[in-house]
Amino acid sequence: MYENILNKYQPDKDNLIYILHDIQDNDSQNYVSEEAINAVSDYLDISQSHIYGVLTFYSMFSVKPRGKNIIRLCDSPPCFLKGSSKLYKKISKMLNVKNGQTTKDGKFTLELVACLGVCGNAPVAMINNDIYADLTEEKIEKIIKKIDKGDDNVS
């Protein structure tokens, strides 16, 4: 089932991170499963433990199933100065999850992450592939509610 993805890349070890990104982005639960690790291991001829090591090193990867939508809230100093901890409390209360946890309905995962490089508009969060900037508690609540309703066009 991973052949379509794997065949896009030369079987070279330096494509590993690319491949893992691709697999995760196409996974409905936003993670890289053991089955996927085995498939990559066969394709690139590198050990499962190496792949697992890489997956757990980088913050963008997950080896646990995650929600449909991933809220990556920055808590690095520039966002912290602009009140990211209030946002964390707000989201955490709203969705009843802590850092790294997924909501019971499997819709959202909340992750605290390091700098996203959009500090001119702090505080920021990245939800799936989109950046949401200049956030306030009211703004993030609205955005999450919209995504929850299945409306992807949130500004």
Partner: protein
């Protein structure tokens, strides 16, 4: 012949603000008035400031409009493009200055950013792009290029400030079946996003720099290692590489010189430590990003044990102009001792967060007032964290210190990556330091022991202080631990906490002590 050009700034922040819709409505309104052949609507990279919604620059008047909403368009077109009157209510303003200075006359790496369309190679060629590449490849020897770069005094803009020409000169003479040139675009230092804006605003400039640099050291393969979060940069670089290939600027036997060059992109996956060059190389090879033990340095044994030069984006974006105009021209920028310009990102409690490119040696006060629009709501300046998490807290008394590698050393400070996080009087320095130390603990990779263990201890102490349970001796302990880490850690990550800790404690000691009193 167009009467006016309007350039919409296309970046993450304006895309979110709906620039595409505004642009479409703008075009259809122009069409209604039969103005499409008089007003040229263009897209460009970032104009240099953020949080101002949809922004556009209009030539020849050189006016910047901000926060443009679809509802403003009829009025904007009728006032500016029909009647020729500037629509004052939309002009970008701040409370302290009437208009933000973008310092275009003194720009090198950002000279085209916000002027040309970054996705169109013809526009880059139109402003003299790739002339330096042609000059380098057809009329200069590798030694001559390295000498020019050495003479220019260019130093690495990633943070450490190592002389670029010197770095190249270690690798250039080595005989090896394969050498690599790598661009470090794993910009993870909190508060730093200059490289993203260079890549988004003028990707061809970076490519031209890579071509010249690769040729100078004899590398026929180059990689740009971009952090995974920078989606727009990756997209624009991919487009630019494709265009350069089509134009024969890279590939086999370029300009009949016999020189081959391939440029590829490698994407990271979120790890601050990969900004360290040996960790970056590990990651590029498909491994965990653990730093290597040095020596051997990457210049001798880098990617797949082959000689490799790793340079920062901003550093290499300087190269085309240096080669085109010469080292002497370049030395006219900056101070007597430190040549060139520096790109800063300004954020925090300022009116207009954004970026600027200014001469080396420009003071912090000038940067905040002239390019950041001054303090937000006119509040009092308390401190600036310069250089990101691995940076330093500069207090008010250093507002007039010159910002360059040498001058800052006098105050035991560093220039770092160019991030300027401005804090007003309401900022809590102790909690800011807490946030920095939390960041380091999270990003410590665990390869050598002083760094993870030290960060653990530092976090315990700062939490205690924030909770009001600290003692004065704790401050000395923090400095001692961080100093030990600096001496024994394998890479810059473990060597960094000492910078913010020392400058926070030395400049704001009373605040640390007051934490205890206030909570007792």
């Amino acid at each position: 012949m167009y009467r006016n050009h309007i350039l919409f700034s296309i970046d993450d922040s304006s895309l979110k603000a709906g620039v595409k819709d505004v642009e479409n409505i703008f075009k259809s309104e122009l069409a209604k008035l039969n103005l499409l052949d008089e007003v040229n609507v263009l897209e460009t990279g970032t104009l240099g400031f953020f949080g101002k919604g949809v922004c556009a620059k209009v030539y020849p008047e050189n006016v910047i409009y901000a926060n443009i909403k679809p509802a403003d368009i009829p009025e904007l077109i009728s006032e500016h493009f029909l009647k020729g009157r500037i629509l004052k209510r939309l002009v970008l303003q701040s409370k302290n200055t009437s208009q933000i200075d973008l310092n275009y006359s003194k720009r090198i790496v950002l000279e085209h950013s916000g002027i040309i369309d970054p996705e169109n190679i013809d526009e880059y060629l139109g402003v003299g792009g790739y002339e330096a590449w042609e000059k380098a490849l057809t009329s200069m020897s590798q030694d001559a290029i390295i000498k020019e770069v050495k003479d220019s005094g260019l130093r690495g803009r990633g943070g450490a400030g190592f002389p670029t020409g010197l770095k190249w000169s270690f690798t250039a003479p080595l005989k090896a079946p394969q050498k690599y040139f790598v661009i470090n675009a794993d910009e993870g230092e909190p508060g730093t996003y200059k490289d993203r804006l260079i890549m988004e605003g003028d990707p061809h400039k970076l490519l031209e720099g890579i071509m010249i640099s690769s040729y100078a050291i004899g590398a026929t393969k180059a990689y740009i290692y971009v952090r995974g979060e920078y989606k727009l940069s990756i997209e624009r670089l991919n487009k630019a590489i494709k265009q350069a290939k089509e134009y024969g600027l890279i590939g086999k036997n370029i300009f009949d010189s016999g020189f081959d060059l391939e440029i590829g992109i490698k994407v990271g996956a979120g790890a601050y430590v990969c900004g360290e060059e040996t960790a970056l190389i590990e990651s590029l090879e498909g491994n965990r990003g653990n730093p290597r033990v040095k020596p051997p340095f990457p210049g001798v044994e880098g990617v797949w044990q082959k000689p490799t030069v790793v340079n920062n984006v901003e550093t290499i974006a300087n190269i085309p102009s240096i080669i085109k105009n010469g080292a002497k021209w370049y030395s006219e920028f900056g101070t007597d001792e430190v040549n060139g310009t520096k790109v800063y990102t300004i954020m925090g409690d300022v009116e207009v967060p954004g970026l600027c490119e200014v001469d080396m040696g420009t003071t912090l006060r000038e940067i905040i007032d002239n390019y950041g629009g001054g303090m937000k709501e006119g509040k009092k300046f308390k401190a600036a964290l310069v250089g990101g998490a691995a940076g330093v807290f500069l207090p008010e008394k250093l507002l007039d210190a010159k910002m360059d590698y040498n001058s800052l050393k006098e105050y035991s400070a560093v220039l770092g990556s160019g991030a300027i996080l401005v804090m007003d009087e309401s900022a809590d320095i102790v909690e800011m330091l807490g946030s920095i130390l939390k960041f380091f603990k999270h990003e410590s990779c665990g390869k050598c022991s002083p760094c993870p263990r030290g960060n653990e201890i530092l976090n315990k102490i700062i939490k205690k202080i924030i909770a009001g349970k600290g003692k004065e001796e704790d401050l000395d302990t923090m400095i001692n631990v961080a100093e030990a880490m600096a001496k024994t850690s394998l890479c810059a990550l473990g060597q960094s906490p000492i910078m913010p800790i020392k400058t926070a404690i030395n400049n704001f000691r009373e605040e640390f002590l007051a934490k205890n009193k206030s909570k007792k």
